[in-house]
């Protein structure tokens, strides 16, 4: 039950992009090409899920026992950066084809606030290692859903004559607003069943 409710929240009802404003820079920046969006989604799903695990483990076995919670921000950002670096090295050696597909997106993820954001949310909600990982996966899937939808829409803009003042960010933001308006429809989905 908890699994379903976390998944539902992450993907639909409190989607990272449309409801929580997390990971916007990459969302707008990498949604112009469908293939790029897919590639980045793969990288985000991979990194966000396991970065949540690593951060939660770090919290449980190092920060809390030593009373270092006040250093959480600094610790998490280092853990995430190190994790991304490790993944990069690991993939390069063991799965070159996967590395080729995801490689260029990996460095971008360190500065994607969604990854640190989900780790922080996990602490705030007291999720622990297991549910923290699930929440990371859910958030990443929601983020990917959003960027894939948006890339589909944006590909059509290539053939349109859009006024210069609106090109790029303004139009992307307004479209995100319209999309998030549609996602409002999911609010409270299965609330009564799950509680």
């Amino acid at each position: 039950m908890k699994f379903i409710s976390i998944m539902l929240a992450g993907v639909l009802t409190s989607n990272f992009i449309f409801m929580q404003y997390l990971g916007l820079c990459a969302f707008v920046g990498l949604s112009e090409q469908f293939e790029t969006a897919i590639g980045m989604s793969g990288a985000v799903i991979f990194v966000m899920t396991f970065a949540s695990t690593v951060a939660a483990l770090f919290e449980q076995f190092i920060l809390v026992p030593f009373g270092l919670e006040y250093l959480r921000t600094i610790a998490y950002i280092l853990v995430i950066a190190a994790f991304v670096q490790l993944v990069e090295i690991f993939l390069k050696k063991t799965a070159p084809s996967l590395y080729k597909a995801l490689g260029i997106y990996l460095p971008l993820i360190t500065t994607n606030c969604a990854v640190l954001g989900v780790a922080m949310l996990n602490v705030k909600n007291d999720y622990g290692v297991l549910w923290g990982t699930v929440n990371g996966l859910a958030g990443a899937l929601g983020w990917s859903l959003a960027i894939v939808i948006f890339a589909g829409i944006r590909e059509r803009w290539k053939f349109m004559n859009i006024p210069a003042a609106l090109k790029g960010f303004p139009l992307a933001l307004i479209s995100t607003g319209l999309m998030s308006l549609a996602f409002l429809g999911f609010s409270g989905l299965f609330k009564t069943v799950l509680n």
């Binding site: 990971g23 921000t73 950002i77």
Partner: protein, 211 residues
């Protein structure tokens, strides 16, 4: 190396190199915390503090930081003032700290800060970097306050500053949507478009005058 005056380093952040509207970076907090003007003010203040100190730290250490590992070094130098802000806010402004939520620690991954470290502080003197941080930070704060004021006014009908409420009573029925994500996205998008048009106009006017 920049060749502006120190005042110029400060003022360029307000309009010319404005973080939100000209460089379009750091969008997540720009939208997340701007449900009121006061929120925008405190978030902006936190960013000014972090940006000024991270710029100073980066600039001080710029000669001894090896090129290859500069990004991890920047991250640590940024995280230090962020932790200070977190602790201070938690102690003296606990309510505001709760409102701003995870977006205070997330300043650490805010692109504005790392971008200034990389593009400016790593190449310029300490004093210049401090003024640059103050200027960009102040510009960012004004952006947040502007967006916050618009959303607060349309979404609640009034704008609250301290104990003053303006106008004392809503003049129209507030639109709750302005406080939700769709309202935020659309507001920022329209604001950017309007500013783009203004910039284009003034540019074409300047071109005409020169011609």
């Amino acid at each position: 190396m920049s060749n502006r005056s120190l005042i110029g380093e400060f003022t360029k952040g307000l309009i010319e190199e404005n973080a939100t509207f000209r460089m379009v970076i750091g969008m997540c907090p720009t939208l997340a915390v701007t449900t009121s003007m006061v929120n925008g003010f405190w978030m902006g203040l936190a960013v000014i503090f972090v940006l000024t100190f991270s710029n100073v730290f980066v600039s001080v250490l710029r000669k001894v930081t090896p090129d290859e590992i500069r990004i991890p070094v920047f991250v640590i130098l940024i995280a230090a003032p962020v932790v200070i802000v977190e602790l201070v806010m938690n102690a003296y402004l606990p309510d505001m700290y709760r409102v701003l939520g995870i977006f205070v620690p997330l300043i650490v991954v805010n692109c504005i800060i790392i971008a200034r470290a990389e593009a400016f502080a790593y190449r310029n003197s300490v004093i210049r970097s401090a003024f640059d941080g103050l200027g960009i930070g102040t510009g960012f704060m004004l952006d947040l306050m502007l967006i916050g004021a618009i959303r607060e006014f349309l979404g609640t009908g009034t704008v609250t500053v301290g104990s003053m409420v303006f106008p004392p009573k809503p003049l129209f029925e507030p639109m709750a949507v302005m406080l939700t994500p769709p309202g935020g996205f659309v507001t920022l998008g329209i604001l950017m478009a309007v500013l783009n048009i203004l910039v284009q106009r003034s540019a074409s006017k300047k071109a005409k005058v020169e011609a």
